[in-house]
């Protein structure tokens, strides 16, 4: 299963990248599992756990840790929004 993952704002800066495309290992089938997979990279990726009220969107709709993932999905992680 291949996903596009996006990072915004402070998270983008901390991780040093705004997006990546990668093939997921077997067993990663939900946002929560993707989150754990990324955290396991260590180092800067702890920012995903350290961001207060981390938000996630799947295919540009707000999602939760339980949201299932499908091949080709676009997943975005970001801090609470501050526009307007």
């Amino acid at each position: 299963m291949s996903l596009k993952v996006l990072y915004f704002a402070s998270l983008r800066e901390t991780l040093g990248k705004s997006s990546e495309q990668f093939a997921l290992p077997a067993g990663v089938a939900s946002v929560g599992q993707l989150h754990a997979h990324l955290l396991a990279r260590g180092d800067a990726w702890q920012a995903l756990a350290g961001t207060k009220n981390l938000r996630v969107a799947v295919n540009q709709d707000m999602a939760t840790m339980d949201t299932p993932l499908r091949d080709g999905d676009e997943v975005a992680f970001f801090p609470p929004v501050t526009g307007g």
């Binding site: 996006l6 969107a57 975005a76 970001f78 801090p79 609470p80 929004v81 307007g84």
Partner: protein, 150 residues
């Protein structure tokens, strides 16, 4: 409905005129402009940069306007949000709503702003003489949005 994410400034009068154009039923136009203040959370501002999630932003704003329409008998609405580098005093956002009566125009304009503030994927970074910092989300904005579901 007009939704625009742009780096350029907007012209409030022209946007309001466009909402009335060709309509005979507009009795009320409510509008809101949000601006970069000279003082932010981190003290005196020298600038601000606005990042967004291209694609989701437009989708999110369209959905917010559709929700306003579903709740309130409004005729049309325009939302313009700037992105990129802004200076103190610059316009950030315009929400303008045309309706037959003022109550609906005011309510829809405020509803759209409250939802935009808490749901549309924009992020502000303030620049100060001491450096830059991402703006924290405000609890008061969450409470403002929650009042519409009470």
């Amino acid at each position: 409905m007009k939704i625009s994410i742009q780096t350029e400034d907007f012209d409030v009068a022209a946007e309001c005129a466009a909402l009335r154009q060709g309509r005979s039923d507009v009795g009320a136009l409510a509008s809101f402009v949000g601006l970069v203040r000279e003082t932010g959370e981190a003290g005196a501002l020298t600038g601000m940069s606005l990042e967004h999630y291209s694609g989701m932003t437009e989708k999110s704003l369209s959905e917010i306007v559709e929700q306003a329409r579903a709740r309130l008998p409004i005729l049309d609405a325009t939302v313009i949000h700037r992105i990129g580098e802004l200076r103190p005093g610059d316009n950030i956002v315009l929400v303008a709503v045309a309706a037959s009566h003022r109550g609906e125009a005011f309510a829809a304009c405020e509803f759209i702003m409250d939802y935009l503030k808490t749901r549309a994927p924009f992020w502000k970074k303030e620049e100060t003489p001491e450096g830059s910092r991402w703006v924290d989300a405000r609890e008061s904005d969450d409470r403002a949005a929650e009042k519409w579901t009470a």
